[in-house]
Amino acid sequence: MIQTFSWDHVIFLLRGATWTLSLSIISFLVGGAVALLLAPLRVLGPSPVRASISGYVQIVQATPLLIVVFLAFYGLSFLNIHLPPLFAAGISLSIYSSAFLIEIWRGCIQAIGRPQWEAGDALALSLVQQLRYIILPQAFRIAIPPTVGFMVQVVKNTSVVALIGFVELTRAGQLLNNITFQPFAVFLTVAAIYFCVCFPLSLTSKYLSWRINVAHR
């Protein structure tokens, strides 16, 4: 039976959106934690460690996200490891995010010039202390815009998990369209919800950068 697009349907979409949001947050937190550990090692670790991290980044970046998702979901079930869709989706998005965040943050760490390290050396700070007190705080400031830019990409890219049957925002829209046949109403609403998630992120980025600049100048 064909239904008319109604308020109830918007609620249905919003429920999908909470999954989009949760997945984005999970992948950012898990991927971010991994990257926070690996990005400094990528810059400072012994060369085998640097090479392995670099290899990991290259491989993940060269693999379409959808394939990572399929591998986590179907590939592992083939090995008799059955992950629930939420888990498979969370893991693959986290892997994806970690690789890109490692690369973004590596650049930010490397943007802090050698004199800053040497000043730390000359003051007898250990490597970890130099990172903690001198390098990372400065890298953090320049990392905000590209990091948030990437988060916006992640929010939108969560839609690929629809293909393992996960009903997030895009999939919810698709389902609705199938029963309402009102693609414009449905997908414009979907787009509007994406915008409502992503736009505040960009605003937050601008605000944070502004605040840091005000506080430090």
Binding site: Q116, A122, L123, A124, L125, Y133, Q138, R217
Partner: protein
């Protein structure tokens, strides 16, 4: 008096490129040594070997009871006793003047923050910048930034101070304030090794001047003697230039 800094036939190369070989130098406590020479003669490199910013390939360095050899890894103890000031100031831009100065005393020497603040106030007074204690580096002039950098090094209570062309990045009208601070430090008895292009300062303030040329210590002696009576044609040419 036994030397506080002693370079024993140290050599340094970058890959196949030799910067210097077999350099020896001895500095007594309280002595001020100026290092002069043409660009690329290895002055900075020699200075940076003294606190282990550059690894040496041969020889050894003794500083205030510590020893650096080519294989030495742990440099922290030595660096606690050696302060260094760079041409580019290298202040930490995200920290206030106070935080720049107290960082190492707090995290390396584990001073409580009141103690560290007291040290910061005292070293800032000695460079005449106590009123800038809460400023950020980029609100200061170059001369002020360099004085903060000197204060930051002094806050660790070093036994030896290294200066690498600390006035070279400054506008000419700002060099005076920095040189004055260094002169006061010398008068207070600090052992100092400074790479400089300020010939007048080297002649008047340094006890000893070392002329580096082609990766060697070409000529060395009491500053007044060396400047008025250079022995080698290379030094004569350099002073006249």
């Amino acid at each position: 008096m036994s030397p506080i800094v002693e370079l024993k036939r140290i050599s340094k190369s970058y890959g196949a490129v030799k910067v210097f070989e077999g350099i020896s130098l001895s500095v007594k406590p309280g002595e001020v040594v100026a290092v002069i020479g043409r660009s690329g003669s290895g002055k900075s490199t020699m200075l940076r070997c003294i606190n282990g910013l550059e690894r040496i390939q041969g020889g050894e360095i003794h500083v205030a009871g510590h020893c650096i050899k080519p294989e030495t890894k742990n440099l922290q103890e030595l660096r606690l006793d050696v302060g260094m000031v760079f041409q580019s100031y290298a202040l930490f831009p995200h920290l206030t003047v106070r935080e720049n100065i107290t960082l190492a005393p707090r995290v390396v020497k584990k001073l409580r923050s009141e103690e560290a603040d007291a040290v910061a106030a005292s070293v800032l007074k000695s460079v005449g910048l106590i009123e800038k204690i809460d400023a950020y580096p980029d609100s200061l002039s170059g001369g002020q930034q360099q004085r903060v950098a000197i204060a930051r090094a002094l806050a660790m209570k070093p036994k030896v101070m290294l200066f690498d062309e600390v006035t070279s990045a400054l506008d000419p009208e700002l060099t005076g304030e920095v040189l004055k601070v260094m002169e006061e430090l010398a008068a207070a008895g600090m052992t100092m090794i400074l790479v400089t292009h300020e010939m007048r300062f080297a002649e008047n303030i340094a006890d000893t001047t070392v002329f580096m040329h082609k990766g060697k210590i070409w000529e060395e002696g009491a500053s007044n003697e060396l400047f008025t009576n250079p022995k080698t044609p290379e030094l004569r040419g350099f002073i006249q230039a």
